[in-house]
């Protein structure tokens, strides 16, 4: 029943897409400057139907309707209500439907909200967006249909992987999808702009909001994923340079570059073709990432049950996208001349773009090199954190300096006034760094530079805040918050990296272990029955030797029943200054438990500063047009 409704709705959306493309093409040829009412209506109906289809699937999950293969494979009757819903997008087919939902909703909203822009440009955008929608609809219907039914109807489902049963992970995919799929709209708009000749400043204004929306959501999505990894995976880390994490970074670098160069296009009406290239590559990289993740070429924590036919389809689609974009770009490209003064804000923004391009290429190479090597020579290697750390971290130093100074430099040509202030701030940063170095411990030369650059950026942002308080220029605040967030992020990651303590040992119940600063007493274990799992809970008493402060930590080993899986839940005591982190895992056939104890300074500040970056984006969205 649900299967038929779902497939029916999706097919209707497909038919509507064809209609919209057809009518929009007819409308292109008329000389009237307005878009036909029927196109708005069709778009609205299309949006309604696709949202309904998604709700149909959600209902399937809520009611545990196992006549749908997708529900059978990814859900279970005993699963908590919240995770039944989250299960909808926790799998390949369901997430593809969510993906299409975002394509369609953005298509409609872009049409409606850009009413004061050129008709041709809007129609072309609509046409190309609908071509994208068609491509993904065919993929859904032919290869990955979440509404496929199964007979005889199984009595019970296979369950959702327990490590996915976490609040952060339930919202992580939708956030990222809004971020990644949101890019599609300015991919279409970029092609439309090339075809309709509607470029320059006006084009920048038409896509600006959409770029900020997708940037903010991508940023937030990546952070939430990272928070999940920290709390759920039980390794104590939050970024692993895992291939799929990298795949999410690629479009993020491109979109961050776009976010900045778009300002140049808007204010100075130049860099148009560069902006177009970034628009095109952001969504291309999103699809490339999807291809790498869903085809099973990359193995990681994100691996979906892989299916080669899926890979071939996405690859075909990706190739079509790239080649049509390239051809349309080359046919419409005209040489642009840039005349930037070295000491102008546009030069600094361009520098931001070079850095982003560099980071992007670095991550791309690290990610693809193993695949290339495997395909071309059959040698299997993996590229890990050392590569990324060595190549990327040193570049963060000059990047942060430019990031601090850039926004204070004026457009076109700037005077030398700020030089004095910069030297003073650098001096301040060096002194603060020396104090940390002197009182808290030694670290490498590079780390010194990182700290100095980060502190410099933070101090500069504080000056910006002071200036903001005086002149109340609202457009500045989001930028200040985001840049300050980045400075703080690097600073706290640096501190965290330098001063983390980690101990790994085996303990029996009743035993005590002493480390440098802590005494860890394994007092007892308890068993707790929960709705869909059984937990073995360890009770640990931690005494801080320095100040005799006592704390109890209770890490768990959870035995989930559907599917039967063991997970290890860390117990994390978060304080303003540091996190105490304890995991335990059973050592098979012995009374010993493997204990991993960590003391990680300023963990919470890493999340706060990362969230500040995303907050900057969201704040920018709340500004009204006349405040720009």
């Amino acid at each position: 029943m649900l299967s038929n409704i779902g497939i029916g709705l999706v097919v209707l959306v497909l038919v509507l897409s064809f209609f919209i493309i057809y009518i929009a093409s007819l409308n292109l040829r008329t000389s009237r400057q307005t878009i036909k009412k029927s196109i708005y209506n069709l778009s609205l109906v299309q949006t309604t139907f696709i949202i309904l289809s998604f709700f149909t699937l959600i209902i399937g999950f809520i009611n545990s309707d196992f006549s749908l293969i997708n529900v059978y494979e990814n859900s279970h009757t005993t699963k908590p209500f919240f995770y039944k819903i989250a299960g909808t997008w926790g799998n390949h087919e369901g997430s593809l439907l969510l993906w299409i939902n975002i394509l369609v909703v953005f298509s409609y909203l872009f049409l409606v909200f850009n009413h004061d822009h050129d008709k041709k440009f809007r129609l072309y955008t609509l046409i190309f967006q609908n071509i994208l929608i068609l491509g993904f609809l065919f993929f859904l219907l032919l290869n990955s249909n979440p509404f496929n039914s199964i007979y005889p109807i199984p009595l019970e489902g296979l369950g959702l992987n327990p490590i996915l049963q976490d609040p952060a992970l339930a919202i992580h995919p939708p956030l990222l999808y809004v971020g990644f799929v949101g890019c599609s709209i300015y991919f279409s708009a970029a092609i439309a702009s090339l075809l309709s000749g509607y470029g320059g400043k006006l084009f920048a204004q038409s896509i600006k909001t959409w770029v900020i929306i997708s940037w903010s959501f991508q940023t937030l999505g990546i952070i939430v994923g990272s928070i999940w990894a920290y709390y759920e995976l039980g390794w104590g880390g939050f970024w692993f340079w895992d291939p799929v994490e990298n795949a999410s970074l690629l479009p993020w670098f491109a979109i961050t570059a776009l976010l900045h160069s778009l300002i140049v296009l808007e204010k100075r009406n130049t860099l148009y073709y560069w902006v177009i290239i970034l628009c095109l590559s952001t969504f291309t990289l999103s699809v490339t990432g999807t291809f790498l993740v869903r085809s099973g070429i990359l193995n990681s924590v994100h691996t979906f049950a892989s299916d080669p036919s899926r890979g071939i389809y996405i690859l075909l689609f990706l190739s079509l996208m790239i080649f049509s974009a390239l051809i349309i770009f080359y046919l419409n490209y005209k040489k642009e001349t840039y005349n930037f003064n070295l000491k102008s804000r546009e030069t600094f923004i361009l520098a931001n773009n070079w850095f982003m391009a560099f980071f992007l290429v670095t991550v791309l190479i690290g990610m693809l090199y193993p695949i290339f090597l495997d395909v071309l020579t059959n040698i299997k290697i993996s590229v890990g954190p050392p590569y990324f750390n060595i190549v990327i971290i040193p570049l963060i130093v000059p990047f942060m300096f430019l990031m601090a100074i850039g926004p204070r430099v004026s457009w076109i040509k700037s005077q030398n006034k700020i030089f004095y202030k910069i030297s003073l701030l650098i001096l301040g940063a060096i002194i603060i760094n020396l104090l940390i170095f002197y009182f808290f411990g030694k670290y490498s030369f590079l780390s010194n530079l990182i700290f100095i650059a980060a502190i410099f950026l933070i101090l500069y942002s504080f000056l910006d805040i002071k200036k903001f308080i005086n002149n109340k220029n609202k457009t500045e605040l989001p930028r200040i918050i985001a840049h300050l967030g980045f400075g703080l992020l690097v600073f706290f990651i640096g501190i965290n990296h330098q001063f983390s303590l980690e101990e790994d040992f085996n303990l029996k119940v009743g035993e005590i272990k002493r480390t440098n600063n802590y005494e860890i007493n394994f007092e007892n274990i308890k068993v707790r029955e929960s709705k869909n799992y059984k937990a073995v809970i360890g009770n640990f008493k931690l005494t801080n030797i320095k100040n005799d402060l006592i704390q109890y930590l209770n890490p768990e080993i959870r035995i989930y029943s559907n599917p039967e899986t063991l997970t290890y839940e860390a117990d994390i005591k978060t304080k303003i200054t540091s996190d105490l982190y304890l995991t335990m895992s059973n050592v098979s056939r012995s009374d010993y438990y493997n204990i991993k104890f960590q003391n990680k300074p300023f963990m919470i500040w890493i999340w706060i500063s990362a969230l500040m970056i995303a907050l900057g984006g969201f704040m920018r969205l709340t500004l009204k047009k006349n405040e720009d």
Binding site: P152, P154, E156, L158, F291, S295, G296, I297, N299, S306, P308, G311, I312, L315, L318, S319, I322, F323, L326, I327, Y330, L331, L368, I371, F372, D374, V375, L376, S561, P563, E564, T565, L566
Partner: protein, 174 residues
């Protein structure tokens, strides 16, 4: 469109990337079992389903002339269909021992399943996390792997055992 060196370079790059991706789809990944036949199994160690202290390992398998390792679960409908062939095999052929591996299943359901249909297995091991099954590249049960006393895989059956597969096994062990 004018043709220039930079355009040619960019387009060749794109083609190269896409080509590598396409080839990449064919890479053997961990779960591939194409080459399983003729290989010796290793790291085989499994706890009994009702008794966590009782184990079966490679040493035990070496004692059998032939071992059929069968992956099953109570929730798997085709497993019911193949069950009578397994029962036949265990009753009629003494040179073949059958090890059942209970795949991602509940203990109670699995025991009930065997009570209802009969137990053809000399040993039932549990693989609630599906870890051991990865060694054999199991991706959808039922699947079975036939090994000899040297632990060499001589046959892999994907899907339920039917009359044809059953005859095939008999021929192999003759």
């Amino acid at each position: 469109m004018k043709i220039s060196i930079s355009k040619i370079i960019i387009i060749s790059f794109v083609i190269f990337f896409l080509f590598v991706f396409w080839q990449g789809l064919k890479i053997n990944n961990n779960y591939d079992t194409k080459n399983l036949i003729g290989q010796k199994i290793s790291n085989f160690r499994l706890a009994e389903i009702n008794n966590n202290k009782q184990y079966i390992s490679e040493e035990d398998l070496k004692k059998n002339k032939y071992t059929l390792i069968n992956f099953f679960a109570s929730w798997c409908a085709p497993c019911r269909a193949e069950h009578k062939y397994l029962l036949n095999l265990s009753n009629k052929k003494k040179e073949i021992k059958i090890v059942g591996i209970n795949f991602k299943d509940k203990k109670k359901n699995a025991t009930d399943f065997l009570k209802e249909l009969g137990n053809p297995y000399n040993f039932v091991g549990q693989d609630s996390e599906g870890k051991i099954s990865i060694l054999f590249g199991i991706y959808g049960i039922p699947e079975s792997v036939l090994i000899d006393s040297d632990l060499i895989v001589i046959k892999k059956i994907v899907g339920p055992i039917d009359q044809i597969q059953y005859d095939g096994i008999l021929k192999l062990i003759q």
